[in-house]
Amino acid sequence: MKKRRTAATASMVMAGVLVTAGCGAGGPSAGGGDFTDDKVVLALLNDASGVYKDVSGPNSKIAIQMAIDDYQEKYGDDAVVDDIEVISADHQNEPDIANTKAQELYDREGADVILDVPTSSAALAVATQAKNKKKVYINIGAGTTELTGAQCNKYTFHYAYDTWMLANGTGTVVTEEGDKNWQLIYPDYAFGQDMVKSFTGAIEAGGGKVAGTIATPFPNDNFATYITKAGAAKPQVIGTMHAGGDLINLVKQYNESGLKDQGIDLAVGLMFISDIHSLGVEAFEGTIFTDAWYWNLDEKSREWADRFMEETGDRPTYAHAGNYSAALQYLEAVQAAGTDDADKVVEELEGKKIDDMFLRNGEIRAEDHQVIHDVYLARVKGPADVKEDWDYEEIIKTIPAEEAFRPASESGCSM
């Protein structure tokens, strides 16, 4: 998934493990010598200016700082480390830039953990660096199942969502609700192809069929004819795997096409609340999609969302909440381990059961490092039902953690 998701990364962590190690004569270490440079550095690596800026971007740095503050408040004098810092870098959704930045962050900036990294190819590059440098990487922004599949490794964790979970949620449920005959439109690159595969599996599992698929160039702004073509096959539902600006183009032109009036629904593979916010609920009204988190889900979410809004002026996306949660859980693991040593922290994280404002019934699966949790099937509200800004989603189903993600047995991961 090239672009798209943003997510912010957060970075937390501490310092670095190996970094120069000059330790030798090194200075006295405040916390007892178990922390490289006597501090923990969390590094957010994401898209600071491109298409995923709104969904995660710089606001995720604020979310990570909130996690640091909460950690310090909670442990006070008992904290195993006093000096915790968040830094950030822009990878412009380019895998080679992400690769270089990850190296710099780990080696030169003393990052103990890298957070976020939207764009699957970039995330995979960072995962490889994490493995080589033996430093922690927690992905929030990217959707590829490879991170917990063939390319999994001991230091990489996958938070929030992936393509399997999106397809399973949207594909299965929409099919079970009666839309059995599908046409899929997807952007012709790795993410899109991946999504089509996952969706097809989910749709067939739900008893439906994919009658046709249409590949489109990426990026693209004119979908009118693709939509007409898909509609001409008379499906019950058209599934789109597009995201960001392409998705907005496609939805506007779907609304224009009249297919809605003919009863041909639109299901969206990947959508963020920031997309709805920018295009308006009218355009998306009734669209069904799978969300990893929603700010107005319950009291716990809302409370955190209010704090976030005070800091940023906006409601949080899943990525802001995910970066906060990942940063906090990382710091909890550091606290428990008493060190920022990556191997020890990983040991703490593996198998940990978590219930926080982001993860419900969460567990960091030891086998493949997939972080499983409850996810939600959402329907976009109509304008009349929107009571405040960002009040866009009606949660129609909660998919329990054990069903929401690909079973570890199918992941193909061996560490």
């Binding site: 298409v51 800026k53 702004d221 009118a224 004819t225 224009e256 009249g258 295009l279 308006g280």
Partner: protein
């Protein structure tokens, strides 16, 4: 059959944006010799301005179709006065670079101010829905876009062929030095012509607002296609810009229908074929041998 009609309408609607914007690009190139790289950004500003005016002042599409081009006219004239004019005496490459830099600046400013996810836009309800033509439901808005584009192109054509201003612009386009030596103050026309070209890009942006994603980046791919349009039509040729615009729109639509993955590639194949067969483009004149 009904599908072919739909594809044709979709192609002409997309072609409308290309034709209008390419027309602006062509007049600017003709009179100033400037390849205006910022044309895609001006198209984007047109759409963003329409969205912002709707959001803040409640100005509907009808109003935006008048107001935004006027704003863009003024903005274009300012750009010409403050920036472009200083580089006109130099190699045209300098203005290409200037307008390229201006593009980066405008895109970034819009991103900073309005974010990257895009802006919402709602069109007047009179333009929603479909009309039945031969058993096929055609979107009213697409037909409206085609109608507006054709009217504006016709208007520009009449302006260029039937008025003294048009005559002067044609003369200045062909041989600016000679036009000057015959008593025409060519410099006086440079600023309004630049503004006019920018206004056309802005108008294309307003028309695109209801059915394209309104983002800072929306002009980035658009400008590349526009360059293909003017190369196909003939650099500086007004008729060529319009015909090239609609042609490219149709190629895109039928490409999407019959060769989905290659829809965009086809445009550049068409461009390559035209350049090989007629280097000056379909309506371009070969360089006069001086």
């Amino acid at each position: 059959m009904s599908a072919v009609l739909q594809y044709t309408v979709q192609g002409l609607a997309a072609g409308s944006f290309y034709a209008l914007a390419a027309l602006g690009l062509a007049v600017i190139f003709g009179v100033l010799g400037v390849v205006n790289f910022a044309h895609g950004a001006f198209y984007m500003l047109g759409a963003v301005a329409a969205a912002v005016l709707l959001d803040t002042l409640g100005l509907s599409l009808w109003g935006a179709l008048i107001v935004v081009p006027l704003l863009m006219l003024v903005f274009g004239m300012l750009v010409e006065r403050l920036l472009v004019q200083w580089l006109l005496p130099l190699d045209p490459l300098y203005n290409l670079l200037l307008t390229f830099g201006l593009t980066l600046l405008l895109v970034d400013l819009v991103k900073r101010r309005y974010g990257v996810s895009g802006l919402p836009y709602e069109r007047p309800s009179a333009l929603s829905g479909r009309v039945e033509v031969g058993g096929v439901g055609l979107p009213v808005y697409q037909l409206f876009v085609i109608g507006v584009a054709l009217l504006v192109c016709l208007g520009v054509w009449l302006l260029m062929t039937r008025t003294r201003v048009g005559m002067i612009v044609r003369a200045a386009t062909e041989r600016p030095e000679l036009a000057g030596a015959l008593g025409i103050n060519v410099g006086r026309w440079v600023t309004p012509v630049f503004g006019f070209g920018v206004a056309l890009a802005g108008l294309a942006g307003v028309l695109a607002a209801p059915f394209r994603a309104i983002t800072a980046e929306m002009g980035s791919d658009f400008i590349i296609i526009l360059f293909a349009v003017v190369v196909i039509g003939g650099l500086g040729s007004i008729v060529g810009a319009v015909v090239g615009g609609f042609l490219v729109g149709l190629v895109e639509a039928f490409g999407q229908a019959y060769a989905p993955t290659f829809a965009q590639v086809l445009i550049f194949v068409l461009m390559a074929v035209v350049v090989l067969a007629r280097p000056a483009g379909l309506f371009g004149r070969e360089e006069a041998t001086a």
